[in-house]
Symmetry: C2
């Protein structure tokens, strides 16, 4: 497995402070927010998640775990019971910052489980347990990204152009990213791969974050509006498209950022391979097909007033604003996962086993 | 033929002034610019075309003709020769405002031809000739819009939802518009038709102008980002899509606003009829296929800095910004024209005749 060292990340730890990259200020400004150990770190992390200063489900899970660790590092509790109570309250508060993020729940559960299983009854020992558990959450996500990138890079040749939507890179995860991580891995293998980034209306994660991360990482990038994808496939040589996923049903139907389905249709028409890159945590064995995936509809002003600006649309025009769409498995060439590249049918078979016996994809690891 | 009375227009004439709706200020403000007869009207019209205060090829042709008429109305020339010289100079100036607009050239030629054929050698008589010729340019465009709308309205039933891209309504023409004119006509027939308007990045004509015109005209409208078109077709019942055209090749391949091709692909996949609404002037018998249509690529800042705003993308990110794309005839259900609804093959046959003998579509009029 080869993985690029990501030159950037959603957060970093300095000697005395937990630092979070404020993604709201990108791409105009690279602003870092710094929080001291103890309550300031917890308050800061909660606010960062709530206000979308940090976004991307894996990155949210990682920073939440780090929030617990930095709260522990500055704790003033003197008994194990008080320490555990402080951690539990903090965990509940962090969980409430974004109600639907699966990774957030999983990260907090992992730290809580480590604490519950800890033999130490000294506060110092418990602080170390929490720190280690938080580090493990981040390391596991980074490792999954590296494995996904390694598998995906096999699909790319020197000189290839890759099309993608939304942002799935380093600052959305604790590692080098998922779909964009495939490009990072290919570049680390000295393949001169470049990116066609769709801007990703309404929230412009492609224009603001993917374009920024590519420029920052030395990856040649060309920005397109979402409406240009099909014509770009007609007029340019694009090797493949690779996108992330928010949730993958048992039959391979994939929920991802709005616009993904349209891109998949355009790729299908032009016979350009269309891949989904995602870790196992994205697969939902309890969901039969895409029809069962609930689609969040968000506020009309995301469409009417991009970046809070006026002058883009009538202030009161009705809007349909689904945050995600569902791409049917039939349009997906393959799934680039941390257990290899799977076809939709291989994925279904693995998830069938997982659903039946609690095994399947989980068992195939390593 | 039934046509709605458009409640709005790109320009209007008052007792002492030629008034132009400043489309740059839409949708936030309905600002009218007024110009007195004589040189102020000519200067004003030139500036309005150059700065895109008025846009839409038929509207540009109409306002240019009116600019000549209002210059004539305030002329201080006293001989026929001086009057004609003034008109010729004005016509040359108007032609230079937008170098590639076919309608602009045609409108100026029509007024010039009327003046050249005029028997009167009195200035007063020539002023009337120019006024009549300019009025005819506008009336012919309005009539073509009404006929297109009448033909297209046949395709729509009460309760239908129509999807469209860009702006093709009243303020883009001298009448009720082309593609959006079909909706105006259906509404005038008491069919409760509503519109799904794609915002049309990068210049947002759908969000700014189509949404505004629909609200202004009492047409129920829902605004979508361009990336939502395919998912909307999957989740909503859309009767048909209808779009305008910038240029139609002999085989039916159609150049129109970027995003049109992607919408046509999505309609094809969902078996939703996809129509192009355009007057005969849009058909180019000298162009065999879409491959021969040159595609204008515009400034990266249209993508990077929508409405002149910062914070949407890195300031220096490379951009591909084609203003138009080409939809192959195979994806187009039919052409709604001022000579009826034609299939691509019927269109090709008519254009073949026109190309060979200067007849064809032109002969079928009336």
């Amino acid at each position: 497995v080869s993985a690029a060292s990501p030159p950037i990340g959603a957060f970093r730890e300095e000697a005395g402070a937990l630092c979070v990259l404020d993604q709201r200020a990108l791409p105009d400004e690279e602003r870092w927010l710094s929080f001291a150990p103890g309550p300031p770190a917890l308050d800061g992390v909660c606010l960062c998640i709530e206000t979308l200063a940090v976004r991307g489900a894996p990155a949210i899970g990682g920073i939440a775990a780090k929030g617990l660790a930095w709260l522990a590092r500055g704790t003033t509790t003197t008994t194990a019971a008080a320490f555990v109570a402080e951690q539990r309250a903090a965990s509940a508060r962090l969980l409430a910052t974004r109600p639907t993020a699966v990774n957030l729940q999983a990260a907090l559960d992992a730290v809580g489980a480590a604490l519950a299983a800890a033999p130490s009854q000294e506060v110092d020992g418990l602080v170390a347990v929490v720190a280690d558990a938080a580090a493990a959450v981040c390391a596991e996500d980074a490792a999954a990204c590296a494995v996904i990138g390694g598998h995906g890079a096999v699909l790319l040749n020197d000189g290839d152009v890759v099309m993608t939507i939304c942002h799935t890179g380093a600052i959305a995860t604790c590692g080098q990213g998922t779909a964009l991580g495939v490009v990072h891995s290919a570049r680390a293998q000295q393949k001169r791969v470049s990116v066609f980034a769709l801007e990703t209306r309404p929230l412009l994660q492609g224009a603001r974050l993917t374009a920024w991360e590519c420029l920052k990482s030395g990856i040649p990038v060309t920005l397109l509006t979402d409406s240009m994808a099909a014509f770009a496939l007609a007029r340019h040589r694009v090797a493949l498209a690779v996108v992330g996923a928010d949730r993958i049903a048992k039959n391979g139907d994939t929920a991802n950022k709005i616009g993904t389905y349209q891109l998949a249709l355009a790729c299908h028409h032009h016979q350009v391979p269309f891949y989904v890159a995602a870790p196992r945590t994205t697969f939902d064995a309890g969901c039969e097909t895409g029809a069962q995936i609930p689609i969040e509809e968000r506020h009309p002003d995301e469409v009417r007033r991009p970046r809070g600006q006026r002058g883009f649309a009538p202030a009161d025009v009705p809007v349909w604003n689904p945050a995600f769409d569902v791409t049917p498995a039939s349009l997906i060439t393959g799934f680039i996962t941390d257990v290899g590249i799977l076809s939709a049918s291989a994925l279904s078979a693995a998830l069938q086993r997982q659903d039946g016996a609690g095994r399947g994809l989980e068992q195939r690891r390593g």
